[in-house]
């Protein structure tokens, strides 16, 4: 029971993953997001070796469809996995194993792939994609956030009679540097998507400050001063 979206910003070439689930600390199991290479995300019954292997194969020059075939050949339990792969050019491969539980599936939209399992139905995928496509001019992290909210509002995880809350969520965006552009998480929370929105919005206020104090420490103001300025401005 998880729903996720992998997206690419056509303007900037940035790649990102948005994910939320009933499981705890899902952001700690998203190592398949690699700058200049692509994204591989395995969920449902994840084979944790898949995502590092997937991005290594993408980096070697294999196409997503071929990477998926190699992951299948490497894993006797491939039918229990749900996997989506996107390379840096936006090519996509997706797989929903026949043994994943509850309503499971994947769907592609312009520059994105939505995938999930243990969902109330296909409307969740539609909600993810509609959210992603809502404002194509927005920064990728906000498009991924809107997608997760769209999936949640379309019913999210569970069955028609029993809804399951999102307890953890994460958004990761990479550009061309070795470290992520955006990497925000909620690990245990009763409404994790809502909490992730709060964290993301707050982080965006600090983003430039954090980056610039590392690049130009001699001119950095102390963080308490910055935080006070921020509060004053918000009032």
């Amino acid at each position: 029971m998880t729903f996720s979206i992998i997206g690419r910003c056509a303007r900037t070439g940035r790649l990102g993953l948005g994910i939320t689930t009933f499981s705890l600390a899902v952001g700690g199991r998203c190592e398949g997001v690699k700058a200049n290479v692509g994204i591989c995300k395995t969920q449902a019954f994840p084979n944790r070796g898949n995502d590092p292997l997937g991005v290594t194969l993408l980096a070697a020059g294999y196409a997503p469809a071929r990477v998926m075939a190699m992951l299948a050949a490497n894993d006797p339990d491939h039918d229990w996995r749900q996997i989506a792969i996107m390379d840096r050019e936006g090519n996509i491969a997706a797989h929903t194993g026949s043994n994943t539980r509850g309503w499971s599936g994947h769907a592609t939209g312009s520059d994105c792939v939505a995938f999930g399992n243990g969902l109330v139905g296909p409307a969740v995928l539609d909600g993810l994609i509609a959210g992603f496509l809502d404002d194509p001019t927005a920064p990728l992290e906000f498009r991924l956030m809107r997608a997760l909210e769209g999936g949640r509002d379309a019913g999210g995880q569970g069955t028609a009679t029993q809804h399951k809350p999102e307890r953890s969520a994460a958004i990761k965006v990479v550009d061309r540097l070795d470290y992520p552009d955006i990497d925000v998480r909620v690990d245990v929370h009763p409404t994790a998507v809502q909490e992730l929105r709060r964290v993301l919005e707050e982080y965006k206020r600090y983003e430039v400050f954090y980056r610039e104090r590392g690049r130009d420490p001699a001119h950095a103001i102390p963080q308490d001063v910055f935080a006070a300025q921020l509060e004053a401005a918000q009032r």
């Binding site: 070697a60 020059g61 294999y62 196409a63 469809a65 071929r66 075939a69």
Partner: protein
Amino acid sequence: MTYTVLARCPRTGHVGIGIATYSICVGQYCDGLQSRVGATMTQAFVNQGNNGLALRLLAQGFAPARIIDELGLNDPYHDYRQIAVIDREGGVAAFTGPKTRGWAGHRIGDGCVAFGNVLAGPNVVEAIAAGYAADPDAPLERRLLRALESGRDAGGQRGAQGHLTERSAALRVFSDFDYADLDLRVDLHDHAVDELRRCFEEYEPYRAYYRERGRNPHDAVPQDVFVARLKASKAEARA
């Protein structure tokens, strides 16, 4: 509409490519060579990711035939590609996709592949292979160039409208370094193979000079002085 010779010199282990085509700037696509690793070229309908992937697989020790299989599995349009791979031991494999156009084919020789598409006929690749094999003791670059000229003289490329001239050509050889030993190109010319020969013969006397002035800058003479000496010695030879 391209003909190519890809080869490894059995004496020196150097790898090289000679290529000529109606397309312009073909040298841009010849990035599939690496010292002590091997050589590869994808042509016809080029998948530009192939050369990089094939070189990484060669570096890992895969056999050329296995690499072509891998490229096939990785590419929905494999049937449109023409590919040759040579490993560091001279192992060779080649593939001519059934959907490449015109007369297309390859001929595998000793540590070499002659291959092309939209050609006058099989005699062209035969001629390339024969040209390459003609003087096994010659330096690799001269063997490659001779192979191209033989292909040209055997009719070269022929499209729907008849013969197609070579508009671009390239000659690249890697020996032991991270960079090419020899890397010459003609990007846009009416007779690119002729022009490539002219460039090569002109460049050849400079090769050692260019190499040595980088290694021993203290002793290097200025290039204008070197050129003057070159002219003088040529004049002397004529006289």
